[in-house]
Structure formats: structure tokens, C-alpha cells
Symmetry: C2
Subunit: 341 residues, 2 copies
DNA sequence: TGTTAGCACTCAAAGATCATGAGTGCTAAT
DNA sequence: ATTAGCACTCATGATCTTTGAGTGCTAACA
């Protein structure tokens, strides 16, 4: 347990370092309005804090910088429920006040505002198609040999895929198939589609329709490809303005990371309710060991829909990011609830 | 007009510099197999080439680097019709041999292979929706208040947009409207849609359907938003491996550039047939004044469909890029022709 | 006359040396 | 318990030196 004065000083160190990105010395701390002690006293406390592992010294004659443990303590115990700047809050409210119909658009703009207000990179994992149910299926022929299959799910998400009609399959038989599927499968979760067909409709389809497998194959591929569309990034270049990323090779590693969908999913996925902070090496992937990731999931009626995330340097304005995320996920959940209604 | 030996030496300088990215000295040139002159002779010629403006000297005791004018001369006169590496050609052929139905997918993969083979960044401006014609229009209601509008064009491109049904508009009237539009407007170029409605269908719609304007508005917005979807970038981080981009601020400027759709369009758009090379300051935008851009448009029956582009440092392997682009656009055009058939 | 060997000269880049000052740890006074 | 004072440390930036790749010029050569 830290003494009150130690807490004060640790808090001050972190807040200074977050702003200036340079080791902070005892004099700097001593001069702050919220600290009433001399530099010497602060120095003593700082030495203690270092022994305890909350701060580090890059070299003997430099100031202190927070350690990962220090940040962790700050996030868990010291961080006050700071108010958001009024202008920031206003922007968020304005965003959701403007009528946005498309789920995709809402999510994209949420990401955009998040990265703009924090100056970090934001990533949003959209709703998983897994939960969606079939609303409508449609096949539109383009010419004798090719057609477009369109799957609309109950949340308004639209998937499409062009395909070539194999020889020996007539357009009319496709039409018949689509009709049957629409009637029988409306409301069925997309992931169950194929199974349902084989379990319940096998006999009927076999009797009426020739070669229905290939169309099911097309639909199946659509749903598979869909997971890629779940990731929305914004403000990718923001990290480039952070002083800790002057090294181009590191930047490249990070940029490449963003393009690997599976890694991104692994990094940002969370099923916890509430805001979660992962600091430095608490992240499993080495590339982001000098980064912190703040995530929060948004949901409707307890059902998680996706995750909002911010990636920045370990020296992050946790206070601001966390409060912003709280507001944002609450508002986003509410907004989506209205849309899905 | 350059003397034969001068051409030889200029060519050698450029080819060395493209590989090693460092000023090349007379001895290096002299030791090449295709040069049979001593370093001293080469030095004399280099001095002449410098006077003529084809090469530059960073400082007195350094080797020479090609000037923009030098590159230009190389591209226009010196560059031989080099064969593509067999493995590269193989990859291209393989790409198009695999059955790809979706136009979007084809284009994306073309970009991906282009950036992989060149190690530069590739950008593709997809077919402009402008030319597309309406194939099918569909509105699928999700619940009492919202619905999805889907526009399928004759090339298989699908646009979608979710919208809220205003009060006082019934679903049945929307259905009626969609039916009329489908019958009357099939085959009409998308850009003409709205005009056609007002010119030809005004009377009929006015008689049968209440409040059709809002749906037309929805469709209009879809088509507007569509221009954004035309741009496919790939290998954005490739430029980070180039030694000329160690400066993070420059990298950021470039990255930000990629996100401005209008600038990208301006930079890469070309209606010329064939491969076009823009070197350094020949590009209108300052951010890319130390870059070169190679573009080529792909087309069907002379109608231009879009542009393939590569962005790299001025020190670019023009020979390789140009030959690759030639093959790629030819094959892509052919492939699309089969798809559109 | 065109080509090449030789040599003095130039200058960026990398290493070595030095001064500066921010910041510490310790001790002694308050 | 707190703080003023002081000697000590060490990264940073400035200045100087060395090194070597490369040039330009001149004179010799084919």
C-alpha cells in the first residue's frame, strides 16, 4: 500500500510524463500547484517509488518515467473520474444526434471521431455476422452465365457475391430454389443456414430442384468472407505523430499488424463488459509491447455486438481515453438499439 | 543527342543507383561487364553528363546520381523491353487463370499482386459507376420503420443503403414504385436515373405513388457515395522499406495523402492508353515530388474502365514496373471482358 | 586524338574529445 | 519530518580529427 503522498507524487509524475514524453525531475513535480513539498522531499519519495517498482530511471542523472506497473496502479487506483472536455462531449452527442441509418456508417464514424478526439488509432470490431438472421435472399441474373446472389440479414447488413451459373442449371430452377429458401428459412441464423437446409429441406429440394448444392456453396462462401469486413480502423497515421514512433521499422511492423485481421481480432476482442485497459507487455503480441490498448464492448440487452478499441503508446492519456470510451460505448449501444429495434 | 558511350554510361549509372540507392562512382561503372572503359574515361563522360543535366553530384567528392531529366531520358530512350522474370509472369497468369467472378475481388487481387511483385505501393481506380446501367432495383423491408434499398447494375456491382421510412409512406406504395422503376428503367445508365424519372415517369408516378421523392433521394445518395469505393490500395507499407523514406513526417504526409480520395484520383487518373510514367516533380502534388508514378488504364473495346497505378521513389525500377504493368493491364482487360461479356 | 595511369584535393561520415546542465543522492541544518 | 546545500553523474550537443571514397587535372601512352 502506498502512502498518500506517494500516490500524489506518482500521479503527478504520470500526468507530466503523459504530456511531455520526457523523464520528469523532482523540481518539476515540486513546482506543481497540487504538490506542497520541496524538490528534496519529492526526490526521497521518488527513490522509494523506484525501489517499489512504480517508476524507472533511464540513467542515473535523469528524471523518472512511469513503469508499466506504475501505469497499472494509476489506472486501477489513482485515475479520477475526470470530466470530458465539453467540446469533446458535444462532438460525440452531435454524432449520434444526426440520423444515421446504416449500421456500417455509424460504426465507421464512431471510429473516426474516437481517433480524432484521442489522437490515437482506433479500431472497431463490428457486429459478428454470426448472430444475424436471414431476412431475405435474392438472386439476380446478369446474363445467361452469371448472376449476383444477395443475402440481407435482419439487421440490414447486405452481402453480395457474383457467381457463374454452371452448365446444366437453368435460371428457373434457381428461382424456384430461392423461393423455397425464402419461405422456409426466413429468420434462421445465418450460420445455421446450411445445416437447416440439409436437415429439413433435403427431401423437398431434392424433389423439386436440380443441383442446388452450388448455390448453397456460393452463400456459404459469402458468409465466410464476411468476417473480414468486421474490422474498421481509423486514424492509423495518428500514431506517427507520437514521439515514441520515430523509428520507421517499428511503424512498419505496426502498420502490417493492422492488416492481419486475425491478429487484430485477437488483440482487441473482449467479452468483458466495461472498459478494459491492457498496458505494454500485458498485450500478448510483441509488436505492441510498448503500446497500450483500451477496449470496451458495446451491446444490446446484454448481448455483445462488437468492440471499440484505441491503440496508443504506453504513455497514454488513460483518463481521457477511458472516459471517452465509456460515453461512446453507452451512446453507441443506445443508438444501435434504436436502429435494431 | 547523346553519344553512344554516354548513353551506355547513363544507363549503367541509373541501373546501379536503382539497386543500391547510393551515389555511383566512376570505378563502379568501369568494373561493370558492359563497360569497357577505364574509370578515368568514365569520369570524363560523367562530367559531361553532369554539364548536360542528366546526372547530379550531391557534393564534390561523391559519385553521381541520376537527375529527374536523366530518369526521363532513360524511360524514353534507354530502357530496353526487358523480359519479366518467369516466376513473376507465372504469378500473374495464375492469378487470372483462377476463376474470379466478382469484379471487386479481381481488382483487389490485381493490386495485391502488383504491390507484391514490385515492392512499391499500388493503387487501382476501379470502374466508374458512371458507365453502369441499372439491372435491378430492390427494396427489402426490415421492420415497420426501416428498409434496405439495393441497386444492382449490369456489371454485377451491388450498392446498398439502409434507410428509414418516413411517416405517411406505406410499404405497399414503395413496392409499387419499385415495380414501376424496374420495368421502366432497366438498362438506363445510373447517372441518368433521376433525370429520366422526372422527364418520363413524372406523370405516371404522380398518379400512382405517394411521396416517391424520398426513395429517389436514397438512391441518389447511394450513387454519390459510390465514388469512394472506387479506390483500392495495396502494399501501402511497402514504401516504408525504401531507404528514401526514413523520415517519419514524410511518411505521414504520404499516408495521409492516400486517404484523400480526390487527391488520389487526381494523381492517378489517366485516359491515355498505354503505360504512362510521371517522374518526381512531373507530379502536380508536392508530397510526391520525390516519387514516381506509373499508370496504365485498362479497358474493354476501347472504353476505359479504370486505372492501375504504382507509386514508388523516383529511384524506381522503371523497366520492371513498366513491363509488369503492360502484361497486367492486358490480362486484366481480357479477364474483365470475359466477365462482362 | 582518344584513352588511361597517377596524384593532389575535397568532403561527408564516423569516431574522439570536451563542455554544459539537468537531475540525482547524501548530509547536515532547521 | 522537511529542506537547503553540495558533490557527483551522465546524456546531449558542439567542436575537432581521421578516414576513405571519389573527383578533376595533368601527363604519358597507343
Amino acid at each position: 500500500m502506498l502512502a498518500e503522498r506517494q500516490k500524489q507524487i506518482l500521479k503527478a509524475i504520470i500526468e507530466e510524463y503523459v504530456v511531455h514524453a520526457e523523464p520528469v525531475g523532482s523540481r518539476t513535480i515540486s513546482k506543481r500547484d497540487d504538490i506542497g513539498y520541496s524538490a528534496a522531499t519529492v526526490r526521497n519519495e521518488m527513490a522509494d517509488l523506484e525501489d517499489l517498482g512504480f517508476v524507472e530511471q533511464p540513467h542515473t542523472s535523469a528524471g523518472r518515467i512511469p513503469s508499466q506497473m506504475g501505469y497499472r496502479y494509476y489506472v486501477d487506483n489513482l485515475m479520477g473520474p475526470q470530466r470530458l472536455e465539453r467540446t469533446d462531449l458535444l462532438q460525440v452527442r452531435e454524432l449520434f444526434a444526426s440520423q444515421m441509418d446504416a449500421v456500417e456508417l455509424t460504426i465507421q464514424q464512431t471510429g473516426s471521431i474516437l481517433s480524432r478526439l484521442t489522437n490515437y488509432t482506433s479500431i472497431i470490431l463490428g457486429p459478428e455476422a454470426i448472430h444475424n438472421k436471414l431476412k431475405h435472399l435474392q438472386v439476380i441474373p446478369l446474363n445467361e452465365r452469371s448472376a449476383v446472389a444477395i443475402v440481407v440479414s435482419d439487421n440490414g447488413h447486405v452481402d453480395q457475391r457474383r457467381f457463374t451459373v454452371p452448365d446444366g442449371v437453368s435460371l428457373s430452377s434457381i428461382e424456384k430454389l430461392v423461393n423455397i429458401l425464402n419461405v422456409k428459412l426466413s429468420g434462421v441464423p445465418l450460420v445455421r443456414l446450411k445445416r437447416n437446409v440439409y436437415q429439413e429441406l433435403f427431401a423437398e429440394l431434392d424433389r423439386h430442384v436440380e443441383q442446388y448444392e452450388f448455390l448453397l456453396g456460393v452463400i456459404d462462401q459469402m458468409l465466410l468472407a464476411d468476417t473480414d469486413d468486421r474490422i474498421f480502423t481509423s486514424g492509423t497515421t495518428n500514431i506517427l505523430t507520437q514521439p515514441e514512433f520515430t523509428d520507421v521499422t517499428q511503424v512498419k511492423a505496426l502498420m502490417d499488424l493492422f492488416e492481419q485481421t486475425d491478429t487484430v481480432t485477437k488483440l482487441f476482442a473482449t467479452n468483458n463488459a466495461g472498459v478494459q485497459v491492457r498496458i505494454g507487455e500485458e498485450n500478448s503480441i510483441a509488436t505492441v509491447n510498448n503500446c497500450s490498448i483500451v477496449t470496451a464492448s458495446f451491446s444490446i440487452d446484454g448481448r455483445s455486438l462488437g468492440t471499440v478499441g484505441v491503440l496508443g503508446p504506453t504513455r497514454m492519456d488513460y483518463n481521457k481515453v477511458v472516459s471517452l470510451m465509456q460515453v461512446l460505448t453507452t451512446d453507441l449501444s443506445e443508438h444501435l438499439r434504436q436502429l435494431y429495434k
